[in-house]
């Protein structure tokens, strides 16, 4: 039985179709990430699963139970918001315990649950503070703790790390991955951060304009994208798209990852000029302006040097390139 099933779910705000017929099944214990460009409907879909937004048509089931018409509190879910959304007038302990108390759980049990969750997130020392007296990272941990205390069937995260600085983001990401392993719970996670999606997910759902473009494990999407949108969206720096006609191929465009473009000062297939160089130590990114294909990105591992404005030749690794037709669909050999 699936932890979450969406059947032909749609959502309209007035006349605009925001979610356009989504089918999805998430297995128990799975970590499922929704990614997509801004405004594609990720948050809206998550809020529909939470029951904060009603569906225009379609069905939602959580743990095999139809919840389409149930209010949020009865869906056995917990949600972590980007803005933390802690109750400002309650202590950390009361923030975490509110849902259980609201459900009429005995006091001792609430206390035990909050203590356990606080322990998992090293929040024990902060239990008596107000949210205003916490740092951003601590607030987000309290918000996660509040979700854990309820022991929900489904965890929902809406860009929980976007308000944190880079170092804290990595630490909290690792924390969430650890929690997922320890709790073995099903989690749905919305982000537009590549790295979060690739590192956390068992399953990535790529959305565009309210439709599912592709569903799959991170490496499946990376190595075997169904279409040009997914190919360009997954992977950083983004895939290069070459004009296949100019290369004498019969597809419309040729997708080549930056690491699969060879760069040489001596000779190759595509002539160009280095317009900018980024040397990061572990890798070197060269941005090469070409006549036929526009600006291409080349990624080399290790330290390399190319004269800016100097002439270079690029050679795509055709074995590992992807062919797309004019509609942007993948042409598999």
């Amino acid at each position: 039985m699936d932890a979450l099933t969406l059947t032909q779910v749609t959502k309209k705000f007035g006349r605009t179709q925001v979610i356009d017929g989504i089918d999805l099944a998430v297995a128990p214990g799975e970590f499922c990430v929704f990614v997509g460009p801004s405004g594609c409907g990720k948050s809206t879909l998550l809020r529909m699963i939470a029951g904060l937004e009603d569906v225009t048509s379609g069905q939602i089931a959580i743990g095999g139970r139809q919840v389409t018409d149930l209010p949020p509190a009865r869906r056995e879910i917990a949600m972590v918001f980007q803005s933390y959304a802690l109750y400002p007038h309650l202590s950390v302990r009361d923030n975490m315990g509110l849902a259980l108390r609201q459900a009429g759980t005995p006091k001792a049990e609430v206390l035990a649950s909050t203590d356990r969750a606080a322990d998992m997130l090293s929040l024990t020392a902060l239990l008596d503070r107000r949210p205003a007296d916490l740092s951003g990272g601590q607030r987000q941990r309290v918000a996660i703790g509040r979700a854990i205390v309820r022991r929900p069937k489904l965890f929902l995260f809406d860009e929980p790390l976007s308000n944190l600085d880079a170092a804290l983001r990595v630490a909290t990401r690792i924390e969430i991955a650890r929690l997922h392993r320890e709790l073995g719970a099903t989690m749905i996670y919305v982000t537009h951060d590549q790295v979060e999606a690739m590192t956390l997910a068992h399953k990535i759902v790529v959305l565009r304009a309210g439709r599912v473009e592709q569903v799959g494990a991170p490496m499946d999407l990376y190595n075997d994208p169904d279409n040009r949108f997914v190919a360009g969206f997954i992977g950083s720096p983004a895939m290069n798209f070459l004009d296949a006609g100019a290369l004498g191929l019969r597809s419309d465009s040729l997708g080549v990852r930056p690491e699969h473009l060879a760069i040489s000062a001596q000779g190759g297939t595509i002539p160009g000029r280095v317009s900018h160089l980024e040397r990061l130590g572990g890798e070197t990114l060269s941005y090469v302006q070409t006549e036929a294909h526009g600006l291409l990105t080349v990624r080399q591992f290790g330290e390399h040097d190319h004269a800016v404005d100097g002439p270079v030749w690029l050679t795509p690794d055709l074995e590992r390139a992807f062919h797309f037709n004019a509609e942007g669909q993948r042409m598999r050999a």
């Binding site: 949020p72 509190a73 879910i77 917990a78 949600m79 918001f81 959304a85 109750y87 309820r150």
Partner: protein, 279 residues
């Protein structure tokens, strides 16, 4: 350094303007209070002079307090103001919450309709209101005044509060919904505490016109038992002779409760005014 000096000059200028304004605003109050403790002759001889040992006279206060009903008038004003204020705040906040929180057909039209009352003075409807009160048997009751003042205060309350409530984080309300709070609990326990400064602002702006009103008490509730303090003070203003000592004393006394209520709300009020500016 020149920047520091310029801002210094600017702050002196700003303070000068503000102090001048305070003096102008307080001057009438000051004149009322000093004359209320002077003898009748001294009031007319030199209205701006401070009371001296000779001219000091509490006859006005004696008259007012001896006039037994004065405490009753006071109590009537208090009841009407507090009850109207409570109703305006409660219903205004609830309407504002509905307008800002729920999407329903005619939402913005309803908001516009409720805000329209800010521009149309309720006194234009006096005749109809009087007819309604007569039909309802509410003439010469405090209930009539409370009803009218509640209607009078609601438009501004709804307008100001719905603006503030739109600013309350949606995520917070949604977190409450997921945690199983009812819509009432979200309203009373999450939203109201966060808009407290706005509530105080509305309270002050609602309270003062009600306390000072003479029109509706005169028309709807002029009976001895339901007179408010502003109306009660009128007994000292005769067609031919006016007991100025008593009038001034009554006015001075009437300032007190508003002052107390204002002080209670003002801490919150200042936070409300600066809330928009800071951030």
């Amino acid at each position: 350094m020149s920047v520091a000096r310029r801002s210094m000059a600017r702050s002196i200028a700003a303070h000068a303007v503000l102090i001048a304004y305070v003096l102008i605003a307080l001057f009438p109050v000051f004149v009322i209070v000093i004359n209320s403790v002077k003898s009748r002759r001294a009031i007319f001889a030199d209205p701006l002079a401070l009371p001296t040992a000779e001219t000091f006279d509490l006859v006005g206060y004696h008259t007012v307090l001896r006039q037994g009903d004065f405490l009753l008038y006071f109590q009537n004003s208090m009841i009407v103001t507090v009850a109207s204020l409570a109703l305006v705040l409660l219903f205004g906040a609830m309407a504002a919450f509905a307008l800002s929180e729920y999407r329903f057909w005619g939402n913005s039209l309803m908001g516009l309709y409720l805000a329209l009352g800010i521009m149309i003075p309720i006194r234009l409807g006096t005749v109809v209101i009087l007819q309604m009160m007569v039909a309802g048997g509410l003439v010469n009751t405090l209930t009539a005044l409370v009803l009218v003042y509640t209607a009078q205060g609601l438009p501004l309350a709804v307008f100001i509060l719905s603006e503030f409530m739109r600013g309350v984080s949606d995520d917070l309300k949604n977190a409450g919904r997921i945690d199983g709070l009812s819509e009432y609990a979200i309203f009373f326990r999450l939203v109201l505490p966060l808009v407290r400064p706005a509530m105080a602002t509305v309270a002050v702006f609602t309270m003062i016109p009600i306390w000072n009103d003479l029109w509706f008490p005169l028309i709807l509730a002029p009976s001895e038992a339901t007179k408010t303090i502003t109306l009660g003070s009128q007994v000292f203003i005769g067609q031919f002779v006016t007991n100025w000592n008593a009038v001034l004393a009554a006015l001075s006394l009437a300032i007190l409760p508003v002052l107390v209520m204002y002080l209670i709300f003002s801490r919150q009020l200042i936070r409300g005014i600066t809330a928009g500016a800071v951030k």
